[in-house]
Subunit: 289 residues, 4 copies
């Protein structure tokens, strides 16, 4: 779905299924003259669980923005026992990019940022190398070099967290950042740290997936963008895609073809996240696209 020019509110919600949920939500919106521009809803009939995303125009909606969450909670959310959140389309999320030495994802992100494809701010780029310092600076984005070694990881993470806090960062994108974040770091940003892994997870987790793919002789290679959790490469998957390879491709070919796929998959995942289309339930992402 696309960004409309007018400000909208977006509700993401899930709860146990029961009759009348949609009506209760849409009644609430109609009562205050909210015009729905997009609604998607479904029931997992095995789990008997209900999932919903609804987006409505704020113009003419007769509730003050500050009061919406409380009123929704009282009149709908609490009554139905929902897990829910509400976001506003005209509030720019602040995104920090972490990168190491592979720049294809960073380039792709900066290209989209510069063209205005995403409604988001990128207040800083953090890297354990200096490779992309000039690129960042040419893009007008502050660049922080925080090298990691065996002994300094906890200290550097503390600095990273301070930088993120100071810049009021909402979301961290690991654009091929080749360091494993601590559980403590991740707990600061639950379902807000987006990683790109260069395989079709759960196949080939961990290091050197293209080498493993070549050795196994697969005919297709993949990329997976997921929220980072404390278990390596096991967080909820936001987006995946694949690219076919050929019988005479070597590991270098796989890397090259894979990188095109990685950057597209990561950017799609970021967009879903920024558009408030992703709902996490039981370590799975429901992506209302």
């Amino acid at each position: 779905m696309s960004v409309t020019n007018q400000a909208t509110a977006i509700l993401l919600a899930e709860c146990q299924d029961q009759p009348g949920i949609v009506a209760k939500v849409t009644d609430f919106l109609a009562r205050y003259n909210g015009n729905i521009v997009d609604l998607e809803q479904h029931v997992d009939t095995e789990d008997k669980h209900f999932f919903m995303r609804v987006e409505w125009q704020l113009e003419n909606f007769n509730v003050e923005r500050d009061a919406i969450k409380n009123m929704f909670s009282e009149q709908v959310g609490s009554i139905l026992g929902m897990n829910w959140r509400i976001a506003f389309s005209d509030i720019k999320p602040k995104v920090a990019i972490f990168v190491s030495q592979h720049g294809h994802c960073l380039f792709d992100i900066l290209s989209r940022h510069q063209s205005g494809e995403w409604y988001a701010d990128i207040p800083l780029i953090i890297s354990n190398h200096t490779t992309y310092k000039t690129l960042a600076e040419n893009s007008g984005i502050p660049f922080y070099h925080l090298p990691i070694n065996a002994g300094n990881k906890a200290d550097q993470e503390r600095i990273q967290l301070e930088l993120l806090a100071k810049n009021q960062i909402d979301t961290v994108v690991l654009a091929r950042y080749m360091q494993i974040l601590s559980g403590d770091f991740i707990n600061h940003y639950p379902n807000q740290v987006i990683n790109i892994h260069h395989s079709f997870l759960p196949a080939f987790p961990g290091a050197k997936p293209y080498h493993s793919a070549h050795e196994r002789g697969v005919k297709i290679i993949g990329a997976t963008s997921h929220y980072v959790t404390s278990e390596l490469d096991a967080g909820p998957i936001i987006e995946q895609d694949i690219v076919r390879i050929k019988h005479n491709d070597n590991v270098e070919d796989l890397k090259r073809k894979g990188q095109d796929n990685e950057k597209i998959v990561l950017s799609r995942a970021i967009r879903h996240h920024l558009q408030h289309e992703v709902l996490v339930y039981k370590n799975r992402c429901i992506v209302f696209d």
Copy 2:
């Protein structure tokens, strides 16, 4: 979305956009205790047009099945100036298959029919050739051989229409039927005649698309399933897909690779149609999948 075991009603609707449409529909359903299992809705913000599909359980719904359409019309549809239709998931559509001499789509359809993948009846197969007479009979489906030549087309179409009427056919599937149906025939089944064309329309309409694709040197070939209208290969598109070809593929390779694609595309289109997921608006199909 999947077939649930319980009977449901499905509303497909479109109208000019205005605030409160979803609420009015879902209120109507909630008023009579209808439990929504699937709702998808969006607004074409350029056209300011509203599209919706909603499916709810009939069990516990406090309106007699025969009265639903009238009540919906009075309480919602007419008031909002909607174009709408309501279908019931437990009523088996009756589908006639037309085929000529390429059997890959017919085989695929019969395989799905036999495995119970679709909730539909196939009361008859009509062909202008006898090639698949035995196949039809082995499947227990009556087969009618109605050869077409320069002089008898109108007469044969009259017989076809009688057979369809007699068998209370809802939908006609042209499974590589190589005759052009008359406007009169098509008018009997508006948005109910499904064709498969062996190209990525609008590229390569008409005869011999694989020859044209080879000559143009495309890198990808397609297949398109669409509702038949009086303009050849120009009806609303239900489903399309493609397959990559190689630099050393000749026309025969294209045909072979294309046929795999054709049968899958046609079967997906048939399923969308049978599941009441397709809404036609301005010669375009909105497919709520």
Copy 3:
């Protein structure tokens, strides 16, 4: 590549790389007036290993068919230390199909067999169930019901092997045959038993891959056709493909969408095998397509 009408010989070969290999092979063919219709060759530059497939017309080739292998061995193969085999395009491979209770792959195979898409004979179908007895018989193919239980597996495999031997079977296709073959059985048909597994291997090996895929929340499901080896789901991969799934698909939807993919992937793998396009090296398939 496509089947030509004229009889051809096909050489598949691999050896350590060294200068002049292609020249030695093509000289041999030119010496006896062999017209090459297709040659593909590459070097794995990391492994320094050479791979080749060459196909030439037998018409006007000045070596008796019976003498070709000996002459090639003496003049080329032995000298270069090659692993090689030569096949003839006009010798019909004999293929046995094993199936259990899912018929989508079997239907697809029979459809292709009946349309003459493959140059192969199917002398028998073996099943541990009777589900597809009628289908087999309608296709004119002898059907053998060999039920498997905890106690009789070895005995039934002995009967299976006798049937295969009696029918001079070259290749066994496991078209969703839900029994694990013994190592002894597999050893009778090295790189000649083709399986279809309903996941993107190496992800989700073993039983119930669609359940696992649903639980892991992947965005794409796959199918893998491979030669069967003694290690479960770990044999050399011939072909793979994937299909995207949606956030509201349940396990039944995955099965349905996956089955379309399975049958296409299996049939492509069978074709590669029948066309002598597959060379196995280090548990990987080089597929010269």
Copy 4:
């Protein structure tokens, strides 16, 4: 196929088919101790036409580089009546980029250039707008602003051609350059001007293909990279790919999704071209990939 570190020569050739062509070519190479690292060849059996690409190491090849073309012509090419060309992998092609106001392809190209993915020089960027002046300069590439209006096109093309000549440009990439080049310009660079068109040609040629795609209601949008000829959007196709769209995507969504596809398709085409993998025959590209 991948770039090897060692210098290679690449022959691309086509001629009427006849027995012994491959042998004559490979004999020539073996005679002077050329080690073939990649050979692909096939015959169009309908056209009875022969196509070949062969790549061999220059190290240990006993012909001086300057003499190779003459010797090949005398000993092979002329005798067989071949159309052929020979390129060397260690000679960097010089590529000029033309761009207008959409930057996604330019960004992608610069990203690959900067990461060293391609073995090529980019001595200049030409644009009829100043939008990407800073981007070019940050990349260290001279930028020339040559605005086009109704009256100055011929003059500006003359300046463009002078700039290309002065920089010894081999290949011109139109990275969403929204001006039609004159026949005279194109004749200076036959099969050396690469365009990206934002549709699946031959569908939707000309202006505003995403609008046309939306109006036609296609389910898939494409992008096509082709050599520019004097007939608009009708030159030989190097690469195409597609992306699925959704029923609720508007024209802006199509543009956004399409742009991801455009940049990948264009970059693949550029790579094929730079690797000397493309042979044009009868307005079709044979791409030996």
